[in-house]
Every structure is written in structure tokens, then in C-alpha cells.
Assembly symmetry: C2
Homo-oligomer: 202 residues x 2
Amino acid sequence: MQLYFNPASPFVRKVRVTAHELGLSERIELIGIMLTPVSPHDALRSRNPIGKIPALVLDEETVLYDSPVICEYLDALAGGGRMFPAAGVARWTALRRQAIADGIMDAAVLTRYEEAVRPKELRWQDWVDAQFLKIRTALDSLERENLADAFDIGSISIACALSYLDLRFASEGWRTSRPRLTEWAAATAQRPSLTATALAVP
Amino acid sequence: MQLYFNPASPFVRKVRVTAHELGLSERIELIGIMLTPVSPHDALRSRNPIGKIPALVLDEETVLYDSPVICEYLDALAGGGRMFPAAGVARWTALRRQAIADGIMDAAVLTRYEEAVRPKELRWQDWVDAQFLKIRTALDSLERENLADAFDIGSISIACALSYLDLRFASEGWRTSRPRLTEWAAATAQRPSLTATALAVP
């Protein structure tokens, strides 16, 4: 399998962490690319029409996207029910937490585009503020969750979202007033799947 | 169950169509709200920390989001395996198509924010062009898919994406040079689940 990859993408990292947890990392070849919405990557776009990473190439005719689909596919490939609980409350909790974390990442990536890609004279502070309201509200909700109850795709997604904030928005200081989330994140960051896949600026 | 709702949201419509197909519509009470990213809705935000619709309230303590999670929950509630194939190629195809359609809707909604919400002097044509490249590439890929092979969450998502383009971007003329997708959309639009849930400007 081939994975379109960039070391700064939290969505790609979700896939890499999931693969590592499932023992599938060595079956995935990374294809490193650079892209932004306004400088798309044509080879990727011919594989994933939405033009985003991650995209997982299974064979000439089959490509999977986006990150929730790829991660669930890998889970099934490893037997199923490991990072994606098969049914019931555990499944909806894991998927809901993944949605919160993906929402944090979406808001953070949109903020990054606003502050680093859009021409300076066209930036809109209200938009950045609105994205940060989402991020802060979501972090507050995670502070109230009992994250230690499981390790699944929800946990993986949250860990990737928090480390993306550390990479791009360290000055936000998300740990302040969120001691439980801070403690959970510190413990989770020690897992081999996370230490092996640290985010980096390419 | 209560569903936070706006009649112009294609993501909310996915949930309503899914509920209709599963015979669950009458168990869902709609809570109509107005919001944009820069004018969030506080009651919604207390239920879904990312602040987006749809959000499905199951009880005082349990709220589900985003649209893929809600739709799969409803499918399970109706017995499972109806709009979400349980396993194998059918599942990955349905989820991949849902991701294409959600990607079209994301790009279209971001364009809408750029053109209708952001102050005129801060708009960036390259951003709009980049979103439309995603939309057009995705539509071209759908033209090549054999959509008549199934009716599932992939089909529902695509139908909602196309009708959102009709609502907000009619001048794009997405049907031009896409005869198979045009024919599929016309036939699909006749389903009671779609006629009962037409998008509208509030």
C-alpha cells in the first residue's frame, strides 16, 4: 500500500499511528508530497479527486480517503474491532471523539491557511477568532471526557490534534486550565505509535 | 431524538434523507437554527463543541456528530447494513463516495463563506478557484463511477452535494459534459426521501 504523506499533516499522522498500533506500518510505503489548497498536487489529485492527504493507494484502481475511511479500512485489514469498536456505545463514543478531534484539526488547518497561505492584506481576524472558538470549546469538552476509558480511533485522533496545536499554535497554550487533558496527552504521547510518527515541518 | 437543523445545510440533509430511507423520520424532531462560523449558535455549541450542524441529541447526556457518525448511528438503529454496507468492497466504496461528496460540500460551503460571509475587500479569488478545482475534479470522478450499482450512504451524500450546487452555484452548470451523473441525479431526485427534504434558503 502507498500513503500520500506530509510530515506536518495531523490527518496523515492519524493513519500512521493507526497502522503502527495494528502492526501494519511496514506494509505502507510513504509518498512524500507538498501541497496547499492553492498549490495542489496533480498526481495526488488524479488519485483523490478532493486533492487532500491522506490518500491510501491499494492498487492501480483502488484509492481510499479520507482519514476516517482509511483508518477503519486498516482496522478491518487487521481483523476488525481493534481501533474501531464494532458496535454499541463504545463505537459511537470513539467515532464522536474522532469527529471532535478532526474538527479541531480542520479549524486549526483553516487558521494556518489564513495566517500562512492567504495574502496578508486579505486576512480576516474574525475568521481566525471563530476557528479558535471551536478549538477552545472542543478542548474544554475533551477536558470533561473520561479519555482513559479506552484506546481507540478517538484517542488516536485526539493525540494527533493536540500535537498539531503544539506544532503550529504553541503560543495558544492549550494545556492551561486543562490538567486532565494535559496528563492524558503526556501519557499517550509515550506510546511507540506516537513516538515513531512525530509531526515535523518539512 | 432532536436534530439541529437548517434547511440550506447539505450535511443536515444527508441525515434527514438517511432517516427517511430507514423509516425513522418521525422519531426525529427538528430544531431549526441559523448560524455561520463567525456568528455561532451558543445552544448548539453547548451540545456539539465544534459548533456545526448536524448534531443529533439522543438524551441529555448524549449528542452525536458529525453527519457520517449520525447517519451510521441511524443505520444501526434500523437494524444495520442498510445504508452502510457491513463489510468488504461495498463498505469501502460507499464510505469513499461519501468522502468525495462531503469533500464537494466542504469546498462549496467554504466558497459560500468566502463569497457571502467574508467582507468583500478581504476575498481571495485564488481560494475560490482552488475550491472549485476540487469540486470539478470530484464531479469528473463521479461521472466515471458506476453509481447505479447501489443505493447507500454514498448515493445519499452525492445527491445532497449535487442539489447544494444547484441551490448555491447554479451558474456553475455542473451538468455540462457530465451526462451520466446528470441522468443518475435526475432519477435519484425522485426518491421520496429526497423530495421530502428539498434544500431551501431559510
